[in-house]
């Protein structure tokens, strides 16, 4: 335990859900559809399974070292040099992936709503809030999330239910027209989102009952998988082939919803989901990045690190990508293998080392 906050397993489920849902409902339908076409929902099933597997490894790893983050136990497992390198990778990874999220966040707002507002306004705005919340610790972050996530899910529910009347289920047929290949291809970029359970490498150290980590992660991945499945099925049944050339199909869906004369133009709902969920996602990643960096440097406090990290994050978010197309090209084509290596590869290695070196608490396995 580094920062004194304690969170329950249920709260951990909420945090994981918030990290994955807001961005994935907006970006995934298009990303998956490009490869998997009308079988996109099968890709979602595939990545949910994969996400369960990776989540389980992260959970097992965390349970072996209660109260410790990945930065701490990787040193213990691999020694100061190699272990330190692993810690550095994670500290860097959390900032880097967060730069993606911050940029996506502002890119989406600028493209669809605030054409004339400079990007940097959104970047600074969201990073400032993230730094502010992290300053007060995980407990504050968790409680905000406890209030916001239900709202986000209710709004998403409204969106999905109102789409039912205009859905054309036959858009899903024929199933597996081009075999399994495209389904798996569609799952690859999506897997990055579903492996964002990687935040638990840090957050398990704050769980009141670390032994429940595996169950909590599994619950969260199943919840996220279900939500994603509903979103993808809705988008494909309503928009059909249109999904392919819409960069934000879910937003489009919201724009065309109309329930009788009473309810129309519900796209601000998406904007709300996006802003509320997006800012919490950024904050959670920022928390993880800050804790990793502080522990790596052997500091006893992390407030200043949060501010410095926030500054680095803002700069990276603005300078790393030239334009929206470069951003989405990197996310779907270039980044996945590297991110998957960090999100899934390293935890597998660490768990293997811990197993063979008989390191960490294994009591949970015997009981």
């Amino acid at each position: 335990m580094f920062e004194g906050s304690k969170i329950s397993s249920r709260q951990a489920v909420f945090l994981i859900t918030t990290v994955i849902v807001p961005t994935s409902i907006l970006f995934l339908p298009h990303m998956i559809y490009v490869a998997a076409k009308r079988d996109a929902w099968l890709s979602v099933l595939a990545i949910t399974l994969f996400g369960l597997g990776v989540g389980d490894i992260i959970g097992r790893l965390g349970r072996r070292f209660p109260g410790q983050t990945v930065v701490q136990y990787s040193r213990r497992l691999l020694g100061p040099v190699l272990g330190g390198a692993v810690g550095l990778v994670y500290a860097g990874f959390f900032i880097y992936i967060n730069a993606f999220v911050v940029r996506e966040f502002s890119e989406m707002l600028v493209t669809n709503y605030y054409k004339e507002t400079p990007q940097v306004v959104f970047v600074l705005g969201i990073v400032f809030v993230a730094v502010y919340i992290v300053w007060y610790g995980l407990e504050v972050l968790t409680r905000v999330n406890d209030m916001v996530l239900p709202l986000v899910l209710i709004m998403l529910g409204v969106l999905l239910i109102t789409s039912v009347p205009i859905a054309e289920p036959e858009n899903l047929l024929p199933v597996l027209d081009n075999g399994v290949g495209p389904v798996l291809q569609g799952a690859v970029p999506a897997a990055v989102f579903f492996d964002e359970t990687v935040i638990m490498l840090v957050l398990i150290s704050n769980l009141t009952r670390p032994a429940e980590a595996r169950v909590a992660i599994a619950k969260a991945v199943l919840l996220v998988g279900l939500i994603q499945l509903l979103v993808v099925v809705t988008v494909v049944t309503v928009l059909g082939t249109l999904t392919e050339n819409q960069l934000y199909p879910t937003l489009h869906l919201a724009r065309h919803l109309r329930v009788g004369p009473y309810l129309a133009n519900v796209d601000p709902l998406i904007l709300l989901i996006w802003i509320l969920g997006g800012f919490l996602k950024v904050t959670i990643f920022h928390y993880c990045a800050t804790i990793c960096a502080a522990q790596l440097l052997g500091l006893s406090g992390y407030g200043l690190v949060s501010v410095v990290n926030g500054a680095i994050l803002s700069i990276l978010a603005v300078v790393l990508w030239e334009d929206a197309i470069e951003l989405s090209y990197q996310i779907s084509r270039i980044i996945p293998p590297f991110f998957l290596a960090v999100q899934a590869g390293i935890p597998v290695l660490l768990l293997a080392v811990a197993f063979f070196k008989r390191q960490g608490v294994t009591a949970g396995d015997r009981n």
Binding site: T111, K115, E116, T117, V121, D177, L242, N245
Partner: protein, 393 residues
């Protein structure tokens, strides 16, 4: 104590600076509301004709809904620009109108026949890419020039001509099933489908109570980006039967002795089955409909027993089948699969579709289609048999 309070005071003070307005706000009076947009081909350029609302002429008052007040001018202002791209032409519209254009009230985009025959791509591109436009906007193709349709001052019962086209389409969709859905969403969906050809509204101008007025009549059939031909009213109805989009409406049929009889459609269901005979695709269209007798022009017709109603059913069935065949015939002649038969075969027989997909253009015009209509007549309105003269003839 003062030290603690300084920060909130400064923050509140800063907030005041931003209270005067949003970042890129644009006041209502600086916007031009577009109600309809016409796009024509003019040489290498595109000519855009915009129908803008004039708010001062729109204002409240008793006659708001009725466009008949002779003292009130037509509350629209017409602007025209020309440029190589649609976005540029729209940009120039702001200069011509002196205001920034505002699209949420845009009802319909009308494309001129020449441009439609050449390519409709610039229009779908602009509509999809621009963040202010909604795909629920209607898409019409003008017989002749789109500019003429936009300029026509007649507005039916509405005050704004563009709004008339919007409400006319909606009403015709819901209550008489005479026009296609006609919005960009459906159009682009069909356009991007592998085998379905899209359909838009067909617009023409006519003289209505001493004014030129744009009206919807039939539909425009596309082959990819290009206009391939038109469906008339009867063929449009046939198209709607096949796609299963018939809601309400009246069918007139002929009684055995030549008099007319009208039926009201009370709901219908279309099922399309595809199959293969000797390796060749065949299509079966099954239409089941409920109807009611609405008007009989022969006093001798008896509507007293269930058997009487049964005898009338073939009349509706033949009429509907006729409309369906008319649509099929036209689609075959234009070689456009507007009904999405290819898509349905793909869904129902994925393996066989793979074999024939490449030749679909050659198969479609000769595709055997069986049409089966089953009508049931349930009601006869407020009376049974027609009233007969009491005195002996």
């Amino acid at each position: 104590m003062t030290g603690i309070k300084i920060i909130p005071v400064v923050l509140i003070g800063l907030a005041l600076l931003f209270l005067s307005g949003c970042w890129s706000n644009l006041e209502l009076e600086n916007r031009a509301f577009v109600s309809a947009l016409g796009i024509d081909k003019s040489g290498d350029k595109l000519r855009v004709t915009a129908q803008l609302l004039v708010p001062s002429l729109l204002g409240g008052g008793q006659n708001r809904a009725m466009g008949t007040d002779p003292n009130k001018k037509n509350p629209v202002f017409i602007v025209e620009t020309e440029a190589r791209t649609l976005s540029e032409a729209v940009d120039l519209l702001s200069k011509e109108s002196g205001r920034r254009l505002f699209f949420p009230f845009l009802q319909i985009i009308v494309v001129g026949e020449d441009l439609a025959r050449y390519s409709i791509l610039p229009v779908t591109e602009w509509v999809q890419r621009d963040r202010e436009l909604r795909l629920k906007t209607l898409l019409g193709v003008a017989v002749g020039e789109a500019g003429e349709v936009i300029k026509a001052p007649g507005a039916g019962l509405e005050r704004v001509p563009g709004y008339f086209l919007g409400s006319s389409t909606e009403t015709a969709n819901n209550f008489c099933s005479r026009v296609v859905e006609g919005n960009f969403l459906k159009f682009i969906k069909d356009l991007s489908s592998r085998s379905r050809d899209p359909v838009a509204l067909r617009l023409a101008t006519a003289e209505v109570s001493d004014q030129k007025q744009a009206r919807i009549s039939g539909s425009a059939v596309f082959d990819g980006y290009r206009l391939a031909g038109w469906l008339n009213d009867r063929e449009t109805r046939g198209y709607l039967w096949i796609t299963g989009d018939i809601q309400r409406g009246i069918i007139s049929a002929t009684l055995p002795h030549g008099e007319s009889i009208a039926f009201e459609i009370r709901g219908s269901d279309t099922e399309i089955k595809t199959g293969f005979v000797d390796g060749e695709p065949v299509v079966d269209i099954n239409i089941v409909m409920k109807s009611a007798v609405n008007e009989v022009h022969n006093p001798v017709v008896s509507l007293a027993s269930p058997r009487d109603l049964d005898r009338l059913e073939p009349l509706v069935e033949r009429q509907v089948a006729g409309e369906v065949h008319a649509a099929l015939e036209k689609a075959r002649r234009l070689n456009t699969d507007i009904f999405g038969f290819g898509e349905i075969i793909h869904r129902q027989h994925p393996a066989e579709w793979r074999r024939i997909a490449g030749y679909w253009d050659e198969i479609f015009p000769l595709l055997p289609v069986q049409v089966q209509v089953k009508a049931t007549i349930r009601r006869t309105g407020q009376i049974g048999s027609p009233v007969r003269p009491g005195k002996p003839e």
